[in-house]
Amino acid sequence: MSVTGLAATAARAPFTGRARREVLFCVLALPLSLPLPFLGFIGTISLAAGNSSWRVVLVAVAVAALVMVLLVATGAARSLAGACRTLAGSLLGEQVAAPPPRAGARLTDGPGWRAMAYLMLRLPTGLLEGYAVAVFWLAGLVNLTYPFWWLSFRNHSPGVQLSPVVVITPFDWLGGHFQVTTFPGTFAACGAGVGMLLAAPWVTRTVVAADRWLIRGLLGPGRMAQRLRDLEQTRALAVDDAAARLRRLERDLHDGAQIGLATLAMNLGMARKKLGDHGDEVPDLAAARELVGAALQGAKDALGELRELARGIHPPVLDRGLTDALASLAATSAIPAELTVSVPVRPTPAIETIAYFCAAELLANAAKHSAANTITIKVTERAGYLALEVTDDGRGGADPSGGSGLAGLAQRVAVVDGRLDIASPAGGPTRITVELPLRAG
């Protein structure tokens, strides 16, 4: 980015929607920054009216702990944290899935305690957010208006010495105040305001980033729950996939071999009629011959369809191992395919089957869409994973959302905790990598 580009970005930053939403978030989340346990602690100390012996502190800590337990047990901690999560989702675009509802006892509610921890940590982050908004945005704006106020209220005769006016800056806490005593001095205040407003969006962004990090870490479903959710999702996909396969199989049988055999039987029935019921007398030999010919053709077609269907369910060559199966797949590929396999440990049958059908689908995809001249299939083992890499020198641009079956493939692979990587820039080449654990489950 050029210097002018940087300057333009810096000048625009305070006016962007993002800056606006982040400020809004800081303001709206501020009321949640004074955690009740802390108030309980402070309240107890102040009731003791300055008698800050260790016993008072102990009681105050106990009160704070009690408040925490109550907040978790009643679910209030979850609700308050949920409000923060919702705010972060709608204003910051920080999409964090809600944790699952409480399953066990009230006091052992993991997500509830994590919500409580977040609410406690909001004290520093929330105060920082409030500080950023108050000092950088509000004070910055106020500073801009100093010359105007000076002209309105300090309209004095020349030579009169006026008491100085204090200007708020982010550095006030260092000690020593920025003060103006003359009208031209107010322009210095105005300049400070401009500087503060230019810095403001970056300051809010930084403090909000810390808050985002806390929200992601503490208000999500948690690692085990996330895993559970992933498993539920892939299981649902697997069940749907299995049902869809059965439906497709029924449909293929119904519209293929089954109706073919019914037609064949009909042709034979008609042929028998043409041949006559008894004796050597054949009423219509030519028609009978033709019908038997049609029946024979029908039988061959039905056999072919059944063979294809059976192979689609489980290719027999897979029983001899993935290497042989892929070799026979590569040999029948529409685009010339070169195969190298180096897998010292044989994967479980389920993994071999998935790998085989992935390769078959990827080859079919390449034949349909890529316009490639050659394909290379490489199968290797990497750290307990089987890596199947299919590369073609075609036109590229493979897109999992383009209905090319890649999305379905990714789903099927995810069921066994595998991964599908697509590298397919427009113009090619396309390299698709499927990683599967060597053993399923």
Binding site: I259, A262, M266
Partner: protein, 215 residues
């Protein structure tokens, strides 16, 4: 006899056309979906429709729905449904109200050319043709309920054939019995089950099916 055929599998459709034409019937039209079937029936007013149940566009029960529509709009046109599988639910919907001019057969039955054409003719003439699979499913349910206990095995055979929609002569031919013996069995069945004696074949079918808990 004038026939309109609806079947989406092209080879099977062509076979049906040929089979019926070889048997001397006129095939006015042969179409591949339910909507075309309704249009052709309106145009040709055939004696009977031979239609597949599962057809485009949805491949569920488009043929059946077209047939039910025809039963309403063209009561004079008989309908014979063909399917690759039997659903008693479909049979119940078809037979709802009346068993006259209704048939429901497995596609496999077409292989017995003579028997199949007889069924088409019977349905076209206002009779009934129910696949023996449908009937045996109904009989199984009734047998479990113990309703058929009073009947002898032979009488159960006769009952099944009656439920398929066959006439006494048809039953006699199928079981290789004389007409008189069949009539005696029929009278005995009606007496044992407490059914009112019926004159016409399709009233009889309905009475039997009602007894079996269908139709």
């Amino acid at each position: 006899m004038r026939v309109v055929i609806a079947e989406d599998a092209a080879l099977f459709r062509a076979g049906l056309v040929r089979l019926l034409e070889d048997e001397g019937h006129t095939v006015c039209a042969a179409v591949a979906d339910g909507d075309a079937l309704l249009a052709e029936v309106a145009a040709h007013r055939p004696d009977v429709v031979v239609a597949d149940i599962r057809m485009p566009p949805g491949y569920t029960d488009e043929g059946l729905r077209a047939a039910l529509e025809l039963r309403r709009t063209h009561p004079g046109t008989a309908v014979l449904m063909l399917s690759q599988y039997i659903e008693t639910r479909y049979a119940a919907e078809l037979l709802h109200g009346s068993a006259a001019g209704v048939g429901y057969l497995l596609k496999d039955r077409v292989a017995d050319v003579t028997e199949f054409t007889e069924a088409v003719v019977r349905v076209a003439a206002g009779g009934t043709a129910l696949d023996r699979e449908v009937v045996s499913q109904l009989l199984t349910a009734s047998r479990h309920a113990g309703d058929l206990d009073p009947l002898t095995p032979r009488e159960r055979d006769v009952l099944a054939l009656m439920a398929e929609g066959r006439s006494n002569a048809g039953i006699a031919a199928a079981l290789v019995l004389t007409l008189g013996t069949v009539e005696k069995h029929v009278a005995s069945i009606f007496a044992k089950l407490g059914l009112p004696a019926c004159q016409t074949d399709n009233r009889r079918v309905l009475a039997v099916l009602r007894y079996l808990g269908d139709g």
